[in-house]
Symmetry: C2
Subunit: 492 residues, 2 copies
């Protein structure tokens, strides 16, 4: 019987296809500014993406052509200079090429003696240095902030819950395990708490002040009340850049409270941690280096393509103790492919792990860290520039302070009540997308509905914000005019 | 102030670099058979991967050249035709190119209205069809089997633990939550159980029979005993291909017990589920289609590059109910970029999610599913061929049945006791790696130490197993000869 392989019968054809892809992808990226920031997926493309399971080979060229026709024209938009929705990074050409290199080598970076784990260790060392975190810490690249937070909290539970949590579970902790963070915390923290079996009620939401930073006195009172009530507080979470407004908690104060109360101190720095690259912004993050665990993303404010998150843990032993599980078939060896010292699968959930470190390693080498610092600085200055534009426009309103790179604003125009304003801004945001102008996302601040511009975009220029403000005012006025004609804002 | 970007100043240079990468990667892949299956990472490369954080740009070309010099020559080896360690897939050229395309578009596939979620939905539909799972099921692409199992078990906990687990945690379930699977279960199940706060003691290990399949009567007795003791059984786990030997539990019997006992039925089919593609093998998996949740990998026996795992869940509502959490800033919209029906981040841990669906979609189109079925069939037949070679060699011993694609064997030669055999095979396995011949991994079956050949490799030919057997016998005899000279097997 003839043996088959999935390798191409014609390597030259595959090579030619690769060259075509490189050309067309470079065209695509270098002309991104000329296209709309977003456009809807038409029915034709949706239909093309609902086909029966292919039985027989259609070939690599056809697969690529289907991609070019039905997928490539309809991106989310975050590679576009006027995309500022949620918190989504931009990616870079070399980052994309690096993902191809990683997939060619296709290593499992769970462990073993090969180059990839050394690359990841190098990236982790660089991350520690970049963020001023102890060089002796352990770390792990993960899929993103959700997993990074989950990992940090799991290590915190292992470290601070009494008893053998891994063997006996959280029910045996001798009292409700509780943890604390501000009401502005990211939803991934709650998701992690639920997954860990602690129950979302265990996550105490501490009020924030006018700057959306955690109320430290309220935190202390909540911990004391829980202790008096028989709970077992085990963790405090600090925000290095909240998702709604970019607020940074007083991390130094939180670190001090955590130390005094013998609690684990986890910092969620999904995007904000990277502000530490800028000497001026770094001061706002004082105390982050005292975290027991620190979660952040490289696919946000380091502009690395998805997926690349990171968890750092101050105490490598407790980190490994949380996750290590090595059955016979995974046993390490003194020599050979099962040798090596770097077994990352003992430091996280994933056993098999891809080579996401490569794109980070190559990108940092490509640009050098000072260039990233300058870009982060630029994004913050651009956000301040936008805030000034909003302050200067009578029909616009700034909804929150702008401590970092996030601006929450709304169009008020001639509206008089909140319901009207919400309807107006809902419609306005959708039209901004639909007209391909820009992609902010929803921002609801103290019950006021508006939109949120989160700038982790290395392609954005100040002129893009000039355009945004101009278009928001134009569309806002148009909707108001329509409303006057029809007797209300029609949200379709 | 001049605004910067990470985009290249010279797009033509980046384009030329991309072309060079494509050429060199195709050379690398098409010549993989000519290189050793594995070689150690030399000190020079390790040193090059321990450099200070780059402050200033080194440039994209330099970053690539460092990769070519220090990383590329030292892969784990799983792209090589004679790599059969652990269970690690091979990858394909188009799969690697697709990862570049995905990273160019760089979407967040958490949700929204853009092409990528439709591609993922298409891939999930194809997966259901491939495995004979209900078309109405929900699903999610994840990083791999560990996350796929975690997701399935989390949904099972949500569905079958009484009370509001998300809000109150597992401590409020009114009795110890217990779950059941064979002693041959994968370690990721235990990891998931620990992370979920249930405690590893909650995971009851059911004995296996001589074929390493779960003892169904023992399972029933354990459930009854736990119920009598006040525990709350909530889940049964079936193996579709155990990691040690490829054993397939009687999934139909497990489904029936689960239904009768009102337990969640999760199937871990990390690699074995894909055997369903072959009409003959499919019969062995009967009952898999009755699973409430089904976990499997596409980066193993579908030869997709890392990372690509999948969870399917029979009941989409309970799946969403387990993970959905949509704060204001993530709110969906009727139109615009925040529109669309496919919000995958409500079905799993990850909020931000990369475009791993693309490589799967393009690969299935490239080859058609019948080609994958043929390759899987080929891998099984090759494993049987190896088993025959082992049976035919007086100095080799087969350690377990070969129901699928895994062969556990050892060299016995003239050894007389178990300690001697273990030392001999440990040394033998490391030399197989070090001499670059082949990469099996450790297999310990009923206390007998040997090595494990897990064949999920589309580049393997029968002649590779001829060579393996020849070389195992040669090296085994050499080690024995050395041992006779020195009075024992020296494990260095």
């Amino acid at each position: 019987m003839k043996e088959e392989t999935l390798d191409p019968a014609d390597w030259d054809a595959m090579r030619a296809l690769g060259h075509r892809m490189v050309d067309e992808m470079m065209d695509y990226l270098s002309t991104v500014r000329d296209r709309p920031a977003w456009q809807p997926v038409p029915t034709s493309a949706r239909d093309a993406l609902r086909r029966p399971l292919p039985r027989h080979p259609e070939g690599a060229e056809q697969a690529y052509e289907d991609f070019v026709e039905h997928v490539l024209p309809y991106p989310l938009g975050n590679i576009h200079p006027r995309f500022w929705g949620w918190v989504i990074g931009t990616g870079t050409p070399l980052g994309a090429l690096a993902d191809m290199l990683a997939a060619v080598m296709n290593p499992n970076v769970g462990g073993g003696d090969h180059a990839a784990p050394y690359v990841e260790a190098q990236v982790l060392d660089w991350c520690k240095e970049m963020l001023g975190y102890p060089a002796t810490a352990s770390g792990l690249l993960v899929s993103g902030g959700s997993m990074a937070n989950l990992a940090g909290l799991a290590v915190g539970r292992q470290a601070r819950a009494s008893g053998d949590v891994r063997r006996l579970g959280v029910g045996a902790a001798g009292g409700r395990l509780t943890l604390y963070g501000s009401a502005e915390m990211h939803s991934s923290i709650q998701k992690a708490v639920e997954l860990m079996g602690l129950g979302s009620e265990a996550l105490r939401l501490v009020p924030v002040d006018a700057a959306f930073e955690i109320d430290v006195a309220a935190l202390e009172a909540m911990i004391a009340r829980d202790r008096a009530g028989g709970c077992r507080p085990f963790c405090v979470i600090g925000n290095a850049g909240t998702v709604n407004t970019g607020a940074i908690d007083d991390l130094d104060a939180l670190a001090t409270i955590a130390a005094r109360e013998k609690l684990w101190f986890h910092v969620d720095g999904a995007f904000g941690a990277l502000a530490a690259l800028d000497p001026e912004l770094r001061g706002q993050l004082a105390g982050m280096e005292r975290a027991d665990s620190l979660a952040f993303d490289l696919h946000k404010w380091m502009y690395i393509p998805y997926e690349a998150g990171c968890t750092l843990v101050r105490d490598p032993d407790i980190h490994r103790e949380t996750f290590s599980l090595t059955p016979g078939y995974l046993s390490h060896a003194p020599r050979g492919a099962a040798g090596g010292e770097l077994w990352f699968n003992e430091y996280g959930v994933q056993l098999s792990r891809g080579f996401r470190a490569l794109k980070v390693w190559m990108s940092i080498k490509e640009h050098g860290i000072e260039r990233y610092a300058a870009l982060i600085r630029q994004n913050v200055e651009q956000a301040r520039y936008l805030a000034e534009l909003v302050r200067g426009a009578a029909d616009l309103e700034l909804l929150a302070p702008v401590p970092l790179n996030i601006v929450c604003l709304r169009y008020v125009g001639g509206t008089r009540d909140e319901a009207e304003r919400e309807a107006l801004n809902r419609e306005l945001l959708m039209r901004l997308h639909e007209e391909g102008i820009a992609v902010p996302s929803t921002g609801v601040i103290n019950g006021r509905y508006g939109f949120r511009v989160a700038n982790t975009n290395h392609r954005t220029r100040r002129e893009d914000f000039d355009l945004l403000v101009r278009e928001v005012r134009r569309i806002g006025a148009e909707i108001e005019q329509e409303a006057r004609r029809t007797g209300g804002v029609a949200v379709k």
